[in-house]
Every structure is written in C-alpha cells, then in structure tokens.
Subunit: 229 residues, 2 copies
C-alpha cells in the first residue's frame, strides 16, 4: 500500500519571520551589517550613538524608529550621520515596536549602497521589540543602571534576545542604591551567553568597547553568523 | 413617504471600552476608586507605592501587572498591602500592557468589599498602556528625570492620557544634565491640563502630595468624574 508522505512546514504562518529573512537577504546582498538596538525609554540609545558613530571606521547609517516625531533623528543628523526616520504611528496605528514589514517599507529610503553598517534604533520598549526579528545580524540592548537590578527578571525575553547588553549611566552609580553585581548576576541568570559592557554615554567611559563591537558586526547568512565573539 | 431613521451606533466595535465600562460599573457598585498607574520600566512606580500606601487613610489594594513574575507584588506584600498579581504572559501571549478584559479576569481575585481604593500598577511601557481604558477613575503616570526632557514629545499619547504626571527621582537632579523646566514645559505642551508633582520616592521628598491625591480619587460615573481637582 502506498502511503503519502506528509511534509511538515514549520513557521509557515510567521509572516514576520518570512519578511525578516527577505530583509536580511537584501542587506546581505548590499554587504550591509545590521544591528537592532533596543531599550526602555530614556536608557540612552541615542546619546550612545551620538558618542560612538561619528568616529566609527565604517560607513554607518541609522534607521530611527519612533511612535512619532524625529527628535532622535534630528540629534544624529546634525552630527552628519545619515539617518532615516520610521514612524510607527503613520499607517501602523501607534505600534510600540518595529517589525520586519515596517523595516521593509523603509528599505527604499535607505542608502544601502553607501553603507557598511546600519543601526536600527527601535522604539523605546522592553517588551514587544524583542518579539520581532527585522532582518538584523545582531541584537543589542541598552539598560540604564537607574532602572534597577530587577529588569532582566521582569523582561527576560528582551535580555535573552540580545547578544550584547550595554549597561549605561554608570557615572550615576555613586548616587544610586543599585547593586551593580546584582544587576549583572540577573543578566547572566536569564541569558548566560550575553556579553555585557559597562559604559557612560554621557562621560564617554567604556564606550570604545561598544564602538569596537559595532565595528565587528558582519553581514552573513544564518542566525547570529555576524555577531562578534 | 415614510423614511426610516437610522440610528448611528458609535464605538460599537470597541470591545475594550465595553468591558472597561463593565469593570467601572462593578468598581462603582463596590464603592472602590480605581487608579491606573503607568510609566516606563524602572521609573519607580513600586517604590512610590511602597512609600505612600502604608500610611494612606484608606483601605487600599494593588493589582500588579507584569509580563511575568511577581517581584513588585512581593515587595508590596511584605509591607502588608493586599496585592493581586496579573501576568500578561499567561494566556495573553506576553502583552506589553493591561487591557479591560485582563483586569476583568482578575476581578474575582480582588477583595473589593475590603477596599476603598485600588491602584492598578500597569506594565512598564510608555506606548500601549495609554491606549486601553481598564475601568479606572483616574490615570496617573510616573516619569523619571533620568529619562530626559523629551519623553512627553516622544510618547504624547501617554502624557495626554494622564490627569497626573509624577516627576520622580528629583534627588538625582544635581547629578544630571536634564533641564527640569524644559521637561515640565514639554509635559504642559502635550497636556495643558495635567497636574505635575515633583517627588523622590527614595528620599520621600514631595510624596505627601501624591498620597493626598490618592486619598481624594473617588469612584463615580462619567469620564474623569472621580479625579481630584
């Protein structure tokens, strides 16, 4: 008796993953490495980018995700960093994150031929941005010491999603009750493989390590192929 | 000739609003005033509640919203504040906000007969929580000075949704570059009617004013009927 083989197609309904792969293929063809940079509101993503991007030995551009406005994009543009604004309230209904389709809609506006690295500054939010791949080669997050030791435990998906956790505002540590070791312990507890960097985007302390990390992200096929060791 | 009148039913498809009204009717019947407290992650909602709830001259309970875990609920419980945990990852798929239906699902677990005031501590997020009424009488948010002056401009829906904006961590002002007047200007620019309070939940500075506000929120019918002047 002949039995028909049933092929199981996994992930068939995950449209975001499909579009993220298409984005990544386009970025790869253009030779552009892509970093998805995430954080809570006010953790210091833009200040960190202001600090490290102008001196980076790569042609770098930014895709700026915000619910509305272009405040961060304006800050980067006056530093002569090529920046494209993507607002989630225009046609997306005030979304709290970027997804692959939103990034895809921005592709025609990106000067990919002139870039080696694209940093996507996601919407400030510790929940949903972690759930949507956008076609990036690496994911990094900024966590401010002012947010407390417990954030990795309360938002574990975000901390697990990222290869790099940048602990920012360490210049404020003398004025806070936070136990830094406890925060680092919690990061490792939810993501043992995460690399952590201690920085102050304001004073510049430790930011060279983030610049070096950014300089080493490579475009590539396969999950996490382009992440620096 | 007879013409049939067509009655326009507005809001008919807004299921959240329907359920929020049902929640509010239940809270009103129980004589419980309800405050929806929102903020970005780590702005200090729980520390503020730890500081003011034990001394409040009302029977107060907390409904604690988190993606997962019960870290904040544990902090309040050891201060003998009746607290109910609502996790958005259980059956809601890791939602970044509370909505009326989630709060409704928690109603049977709330000791409404023993309360005059229920504070709902929403998920830490400046976007989506502002979009969902949950049956509250008043909405308040906590904004930390460490988050920068620009947050009202970048997350205007949240700042507009709230009758009260608590500016927290003012003890850190001497160590920050933030211009407090600029932050207050931005709050007023997006919500001219908002009341603002300057507090430090850590040192206790200014928290009495928040306690007085909480003591005056009243259950009532009609939007904003219960908000203190």
């Amino acid at each position: 008796m002949h039995r028909t083989r049933i092929r199981v197609v996994a992930d068939a309904l995950d449209a975001n993953e499909t579009i993220a792969r298409a984005n990544r293929a386009d970025f790869d063809r253009a030779g552009v490495a892509v970093v998805n940079l995430m954080s809570a509101p006010g953790a210091g993503k833009t200040t960190l980018l202001e600090r490290v991007l102008p001196g980076l030995p790569r042609r770098v551009g930014v895709l700026e995700g915000d619910v509305q406005g272009s405040y961060d994009a304006d800050r980067l543009a006056i530093r002569h960093i090529p920046v494209t604004q993507l607002n989630t309230s225009n046609g997306f209904g005030g979304e709290c994150h970027l997804d692959a389709n939103m990034v895809r809609s921005a592709l025609p506006a990106l000067p990919l031929a002139d870039l080696d690295l694209l940093v996507v500054e996601n919407v400030g939010n510790l929940v949903c941005p972690a759930e949507f791949r956008i076609g990036e080669d690496a994911r990094a997050m900024v966590c401010s010491v002012t947010e407390g030791e417990d954030k990795p435990l309360k938002y574990p998906l975000m901390f697990r999603a990222c290869e790099l956790v940048v602990i920012n505002k360490v210049d404020l540590l003398p004025h806070l009750e936070i136990d830094l070791d406890h925060l680092l312990y919690n990061v490792t507890a939810v993501n043992p493989g995460a690399r952590t960097l201690l920085v102050s985007a304001r004073t510049g302390e430790g930011v060279e390590a983030f610049a070096e990390w950014l300089a080493e992200v490579r475009p590539g096929v396969g999950a996490d192929a382009g992440v620096p060791a």
